[in-house]
């Protein structure tokens, strides 16, 4: 994808308003039911203009249903959906001013690339010169301007997905809906497409994107905020880095990246604001957390890459365990250790000399890299 700044071009033509404004999305207690069974429980959520919100969750969590409700493919059983401040709940899809990219590309097989990209513009009654200009712009953004005359069957999966993105961008949608757009691609192309989508959004800062995926790495790379859904309900939402570093519950901690969850008992607040002392077996630890009542049971959450085997500066917490397994994976080495009854994983790029399997192993981490979450398996 070339980094042609369409946003700059659009602004130069006075078209910035068509991309950035009126592109907020609001779910107002939206529920969706299929044949009486509720598949999306009341969802209230605001997406700011120009934001990338990733909706992630396991199969059946309701993330695609929420996206389809925004698109107008399913009608909410209750609640309202607003786009750009206007209630669109009763509007058919073709009047919502959106565009979508789906997993299987959904290109029209009997149309050439140029006709696929022009489809939405023709459907909206755009003038021929504008269609030509927009098709050219959109294909240049995705680096496919040389493939105008090709049929979809003559393109690779990655190229087809680029055309699908160009087709969506050509209509200058208020909101771009991405429904697992990279799932059909192999790992290498997927990584490069994630980078291209990130670059695309940098070029089109006013474009709001709702991105549904089950791939946490796509969500972490692209999203400004992440909404985690589970069993048809919103389990957690927050800024990407906050949600990763301070997951509000066990499901969020385990679904968004790998997490070590060590049962601890709160001892009390420390003299430092925002720090709480906890005890894990014989080890006394300090964790960045809101105040918690003494004696309360919590799970200490620390990511595998935040654990080290040496007491580096600032890594003041230490837990004692026993080495169980070493898994070398080229760039990274994964260690598995037992701390009490808890299995903890460590990801290291550099390793000191390791003890024998079964030998004691000290694990260090910084207070700021750990958080406390409720012990119960809440949503």
């Amino acid at each position: 994808m070339t980094s042609v700044a369409l946003g700059a071009e659009a602004r130069a033509r006075g078209e910035a308003q068509t991309l950035g404004s009126n592109s907020t999305v609001k779910f107002d207690a939206v529920t969706v039911a299929y044949r009486g069974a509720i598949v999306l429980k009341p969802l209230t959520l605001d997406v700011a203009a120009g934001e990338i919100l990733a909706m992630i969750g396991p199969s059946g969590s309701g993330k695609t249903t929420a996206l389809r409700a925004v698109a107008g493919f399913v009608r909410p059983a209750s609640g309202r959906i607003h786009i750009g401040g206007a209630d669109v709940t009763d509007l058919p899809p073709y009047e919502r001013g959106l565009a979508m990219v789906v997993q299987n590309y959904a290109l029209f097989p009997h149309m050439r690339v140029a006709d696929n990209v022009a489809f939405g513009l023709k459907a909206r009654g755009a003038a021929k010169p504008l269609i030509e200009e927009r098709v050219d712009d959109a294909l240049r953004i995705v680096g496919m301007q040389k493939y105008l005359k090709r049929y979809p069957r003559e393109l690779s999966g990655g190229q087809q997905q680029r055309v699908a993105i160009a087709r969506a961008l050509a209509v200058r949608p208020r909101v771009l809906l991405l429904d697992e757009p990279l799932s059909a691609l192999d790992a290498q192309i997927r990584r490069s497409m994630v980078e291209e989508i990130a670059r695309l959004h940098a070029d089109l800062p006013g474009l709001t994107i709702l991105y549904v995926t089950h791939d946490q790495s796509e969500a972490l790379t692209l999203a400004d905020r992440i909404a985690i859904l589970r069993d048809g309900a919103l389990s957690a939402i927050g800024r990407t880095s906050d949600l990763y570093r301070r997951p509000p519950n066990r499901f969020a901690a385990e679904f968004l990246g790998r997490a070590n969850l060590l049962p601890v008992v709160v001892e009390g607040n420390t003299r430092t604001d925002g720090m709480v002392a906890v005890r894990a077996g014989d080890d006394r630890l300090v964790v960045a957390s809101d105040a918690a009542p003494s004696g309360a049971r919590r799970l200490l959450c620390v990511r595998p890459q935040h654990l080290t085997l040496t007491a580096e500066y600032g890594y003041s917490n230490k837990v004692c365990g026993r080495l169980r397994e070493v898994l070398w994976q080229g760039e990274l080495t994964h260690l598995v250790a037992e701390v009490g009854d808890t299995v903890m994983r460590i990801v290291a790029t550099r390793l000191p000399s390791l003890p024998e399997r079964g030998a004691p192993l000290d694990l260090f981490f910084a207070p700021a890299d750990a958080s406390l979450i409720p012990e119960e398996a809440g949503v």
Partner: protein, 284 residues
């Protein structure tokens, strides 16, 4: 190495190729031989030798030309009707969800199983001179004569053929529509396409091979339709199959009947070749 090892095993006779004989014999006796007899009767004079004069005079006769035109027009009109009705019904059954749509599709399918004259008989009860429609109209408006006579014209034949042969278009179209990627339809809608544009630009192109296959089959069947035309007995509506029947049975002119039959066969094979060509070009 022993003699046994180096000596080539005696070649066993291979009779597998003979399996082609039984079907060829059956095909020859039941299909090819009668065709040869027809061609012989049409082209060979009683005294022996090829006689194209009689054949050509039949082809130049007004009765033949009228029958040829009638056959073509009725077949084309009926096929067009089948396509319009078939596409409409298939679109409704495939994309407009309503309770009982599967039952309706199966009910339409059953028309394939019915003999063609049965539909014509039903039409006589409905639209015939003494049928329900004319009865209701004469009673309602105090008319002395039945006002509706379309059944006894080419329109009656076309209507009956459309009714009988639409399922031959409907079935392949329903199969093709079931294969259309739902996400293409949804994405098209979100891009701003209204339902009719989606039908025209997304759904129908995907179903074009199926429509051509169904339409070609209809054309073939309607070109050769005999029962409906005979049963309706529309005045002045003589098609090639009916003319063959007239020449052979009514007038005992077997040479003329066979000459017309040859043309009918050529027409059918030509249409079939056209269908295969179109299906191959369109990937059907």
């Amino acid at each position: 190495m022993s003699d046994l090892a180096v000596r080539a095993a005696p070649a066993r006779p291979n009779f597998n190729g003979l399996w082609v004989a039984p079907p060829l014999i059956v095909l020859g006796l039941t299909f090819l031989y009668p065709l040869v007899l027809i061609a012989h009767a049409a082209l060979v004079a009683d005294a022996g030798g090829i006689d194209l004069g009689g054949f050509l005079s039949v082809l130049h006769s007004r009765a033949f030309l009228n029958a040829l035109i009638n056959t073509g027009l009725i077949a084309l009109a009926a096929t067009a009707g089948c396509l319009v009705l078939g596409v409409t019904l298939a679109l409704i059954l495939a994309f407009v969800p309503f309770p009982g749509s599967t039952f309706v599709a199966r009910l339409i399918d059953t028309f394939i199983a019915l003999p063609t004259f049965l539909v014509t008989l039903a039409f006589t009860f409905l639209y015939g001179s003494a049928g329900m429609l004319n009865g209701a109209l004469t009673q309602s408006f105090g008319l002395s004569e039945a006002p509706v006579h379309f059944l006894y014209s080419a329109w009656g034949v076309i209507l009956a053929e459309v009714t009988v042969y639409t399922p031959f278009v409907l079935r392949p179209l329903l199969a093709a529509f079931s294969l259309v990627d739902q996400s293409q339809i949804e994405v098209a809608g979100l891009l701003g396409a209204k339902p009719w544009r989606i039908v025209r630009n997304v759904i129908l192109p995907a179903a074009l091979p199926a429509a051509i296959a169904g339409g070609s089959l209809c054309l073939l069947l309607t070109v050769n339709e005999f029962g409906i035309v005979l049963f309706i007995g529309a005045k002045g509506v003589i098609t090639l199959p009916l003319l063959i029947y007239d020449k052979a049975i009514q007038e005992s002119d077997y040479q003329a009947a066979c000459a017309i039959a040859l043309v009918n066969i050529a027409l059918s094979l030509g249409l079939f070749s056209l269908y295969r060509f179109a299906a191959r070009r369109l990937g059907g």
